[in-house]
Symmetry: C2
Subunit: 422 residues, 2 copies
């Protein structure tokens, strides 16, 4: 058997596209995908996934956090893990998360066929539970539990809009919340983790490239910034006597673009603005904006934050208002593994000629697994419109086929890397 | 009798201050004045006002719009009208509106005493009904009805927060809504209209002057400006790919200061800002701000509006977003009468040495009466803190006494002006 020719012959990317379409017809309605974690549709989705795995000599089990694992034992107990998530947001797209899993299924098939059920290393496919966090507002549930990164005290208190707690919802699908971190044992032999995903942004689209190697997930600093001025009558208060909280906030709208430009690859977003008293006849007394800052480099992220703070204080002083900062959330950058990034680049280059390295703005389960110390990389495939979490989410069919091919090549390289002692 | 000395001797400004305190004790609670129009407290206030007028040989009646008139017949049927309003906002101040009326009462007393009940021209005091519009959201009710400027179709539909219509509320106090404009006959002989008011702003306070002559009320252009961009993920969307509605709106926050500065005396206010979807993880798709622009000069106001429109379109284009304007409200500037402004200046100069001419940002009943073609002027007295519509609204006692003196001198000059054939 010619090992090098084999993947091309045994892999069937068209089958992946067909399976994704089949899944869509089973789990979407006119508003989009409805595979929200822990719902009946999600349970049905997993039953369908098990069916797809039936022909393979894999062991299948659900871990303590509800993640589904399919394991193809290899000559070495060292594991190559391929991950994704079958759950979606409500009214979601047809690719986010399940493309990853179904590409993994196809790669399992190829490896099984090529190595006659006994690859050099153990190959595992994982379907993480509740990546989206749509119901409880906490994303990356299954992977963070597995990575040991889940804040139990915080998660214990989470409730959905009907007041059902996360522990009670888990109980209903047979998961004991207090033991979810036992799933951590699944990673004991993990030597590499690979995840394919739609980009969910416009970078590859703008570059007219189908695929990219992901450098890591951005660190995030998320704050509320409140400017406190003074309400005053819009007719009787001279301009030079105003303490206009909206003036200071408005200045921030431009400054964050300058901060992002200086940061070398970071992004800043003011996503909301509220005003008090918020009436047409009064100068704004209080203006609250939210600022989301992201960068792949921790030091650069810290600089972006310091610059935003400093400039907000300057604008406040210029306008005779006060400013107060409140941290809403933060997470450190999760840079991926350099050797795996290189392999990902090569796999893309071999598949379609040109690769591109880019950071991931959104978080993914890969961030959790990388944080747990498992060498990790992701591959992105171009998103049409740069849009996801929406029924119009889409990727060209030829790009879907290319991504399965390139991701399979990456799996091949990673397997060999592990077998060689990584 | 020495005519020129008389006003000083017969006028008792301390009495006005004492009466205002008495009124406060009768109609305010711990949260401020509660003389909201058409309420029992307001009805009680008017009964108290009638008592104060009892010793004078005046005819008192309520007109078709609920305005209370006290008339001291003179040698000529031509009338000098002095106006104010006894109604307040809920939790209002102790001076707004009733200072005007009580100063008018004191001037009626002086003129009656000086001319032994028969002044050269007819002197009338009017207490306008519902200047504040606190209950139905429509200010200047009584004066606009009297001036013929009330939009009947609009007013007919007004409801308070309990769903009571304005016509029904008026009926309860004996006013037939469909005939309120009959009150216009009250102005047939009006030769001049004078109104004293607290400034409700900080201009006189900043200049350390007790009194000012008012040039007119600002014209107002009030618009909602909505920028339409595109929602996009805060992590995955490069800065140069964003269509950020908040960026364009934020730029407006500074530009309106430049527009006001160029306008020569106008003011611009962005009083509210709302964002959609308004979440921390998305670029703002839609940002709506309200813009209130005011100027005493109609052409300058039109220029301010045109500049704001033009700059909003430029910012929209720069940011790849659309902008839409919606007019919320407008009113033309109401410049006061030049001869009366001159008399007001002189009266102030004779009383306390230095006058200052300033426009009025807030609207007043005087704007309606001026709009009806009656020569009009207002006098402002300094406001402490520049604040009104609040229980902390205040003016120094010596300034209150000065304003009664100066307003009386203005009444004297206006009376002579009318008598001389204006």
């Amino acid at each position: 058997m010619d090992r090098r020719a084999a993947p091309v012959n045994l892999l069937n990317p068209q089958r992946t596209v067909a399976e994704l379409r089949e899944l869509r017809s089973l789990t979407a309605d006119a508003n989009g995908a409805q595979r929200v974690a822990f719902t009946p549709t999600w349970v049905r989705t997993r039953a369908w996934l098990r069916q797809k795995l039936e022909g393979l000599p894999v062991e299948i089990h659900t871990d303590a956090a509800g993640n589904l694992w399919a394991t193809l034992r290899g000559a070495s107990p060292k594991e190559l893990v391929i991950g994704g998530h079958m759950d979606s947001v409500p009214n979601g797209g047809w690719l986010d998360g399940c493309l990853n899993v179904m590409a993994g299924v196809e790669i399992l098939r190829r490896i099984n066929a090529e190595f006659h059920g006994r690859p050099p290393v153990t190959i595992r496919l994982v379907d993480w539970a509740d990546e989206e966090g749509a119901r409880f507002g906490k994303s990356l549930f299954g992977s963070s539990a597995c990575a040991g990164d889940l804040d139990m005290a915080e998660a214990r208190k989470l409730k959905d809009r009907d007041g059902v707690t996360l522990p009670d919802a888990l109980k209903a699908v047979g998961i004991d919340f207090e033991h979810v971190k036992d799933s951590g044992r699944e990673l004991k032999q993990a030597a590499a983790y690979l995840e394919l995903h739609i980009e969910q942004g416009p970078v590859l689209l703008d570059l007219d490239l189908p695929l990219g190697a992901v450098l890591g997930t951005f660190g995030v600093e998320r704050h509320a910034i409140t400017f406190h001025g003074q309400a005053a009558h819009s007719g009787s208060t001279p301009m030079n006597r105003r303490k206009d909280a909206f003036l200071a906030a408005g200045k921030m709208s431009q400054e964050i673009y300058a901060i992002a430009a200086r940061s070398g690859g970071g992004v800043c977003t003011i996503g909301s603005c509220t005003t008090k008293p918020g009436i047409v006849t009064s100068v704004v007394e209080e203006c609250r904006i939210t600022l989301d800052q992201r960068h792949l480099d921790a030091a650069a992220l810290a600089r972006m934050l310091a610059e935003a703070r400093s400039v907000s204080e300057r604008f406040a002083q210029e306008g005779g208002v006060r400013v107060a900062w409140e941290r809403l959330w933060q997470i450190a950058p999760r840079p991926f593994h350099p050797a795996l990034i290189g392999m990902c680049d090569s796999a893309i280059g071999e598949t379609c000629g040109k690769s591109h390295r880019l950071p991931s703005g959104p978080l993914h389960d890969a961030a959790e697994i990388s944080g747990a110390g498992v060498p990790t990389v992701m591959m992105f495939v171009q998103s049409l419109h740069g849009i996801s979490h929406n029924k119009i989410e889409d990727t060209r069919e030829e790009h879907l086929e290319l991504c399965v091919r390139a991701f399979d090549k990456l799996a091949d390289k990673a397997m060999k890397w592990i077998a060689a002692g990584s």
